[in-house]
Symmetry: C2
Subunit: 148 residues, 2 copies
């Protein structure tokens, strides 16, 4: 679990609270869901949560999934320029593709190559892939309902 490597001493109190909340969750959390959790710690205002999330993002500890307006802990050791997520339209599962995967660096390289060719200085990128995860694919072929 990559989260064990994070230096928690650099986090502010609120950042730590948000970090813990995200760590407990097995799926991405909306800001207001985080707020609900933190209410038991005396946090009352959305601002508090958004500020902490922003700090965690800057530290590379949290990623925002723009397509879902939700936040997840980064599951990898080193900072990476390209974050890639699989999002299941069926069950909502979100999985960050590990940059350590054998082919993943090739994807990142290809992207960086294409982008450089355009004269663009990329700072970070997010790839959000929507589809049906392995689990739900099985279910779907059984009874052909639901989905989108």
């Amino acid at each position: 679990m990559a989260h064990d490597n994070i230096d928690l001493s650099t986090l502010t109190r609120n950042e730590l609270l948000v970090f813990e909340a995200l760590k407990e969750s097995d799926s991405p959390m909306k800001a207001y869901d985080v707020l609900d959790v933190l209410k038991s710690h005396g946090v009352r205002a959305p601002m508090t949560v958004y500020r902490a999330l922003e700090g965690l993002e800057e530290k590379g500890i949290v990623h925002k999934l723009d397509a879902l307006n939700a936040f997840v802990l980064c599951s990898h050791d080193r900072p990476h320029q390209v974050q890639s997520f699989l999002v299941c339209s069926e069950c909502g599962m979100v999985q960050e593709i590990s940059p350590e995967l054998r082919e993943a660096p090739q994807v990142e390289d290809k992207i960086l190559g294409v982008v450089r060719a355009t004269g663009f200085q990329m700072r970070e990128a997010r790839l959000e892939m929507k589809g049906i995860c392995q689990k739900c694919t099985g279910k779907q072929s059984a009874h052909n309902t639901a989905a989108e």
Copy 2:
């Protein structure tokens, strides 16, 4: 201009209005910006705009930029599974990377390869790259301010 190839006859009245509004704009538009434009055509409610945008997205004519909550016309002829955008943090410029670029298909192939390996059935994907565009890079190196 790829927009000339679109079969406008399949669009509803409101979809056509939204399409025209986006076509006039040289940058992505927020839904409420579109609404402002359409007010002169009697459109009053956000719902109308969002419905039309949804229709256009389904037809592959419009993409949503989740990171900006904004919408752009697709600038390409054929539907494509992976949409890639450069977003300048400095000036707000947004450019869709053409899937016809020499290396672009390789990126898409690499992505599809990695994803297939995970058993995920990808339906569509969006790659949003944030950074500094060529124009702004020049400005920046001159006086080293701003950004972020």
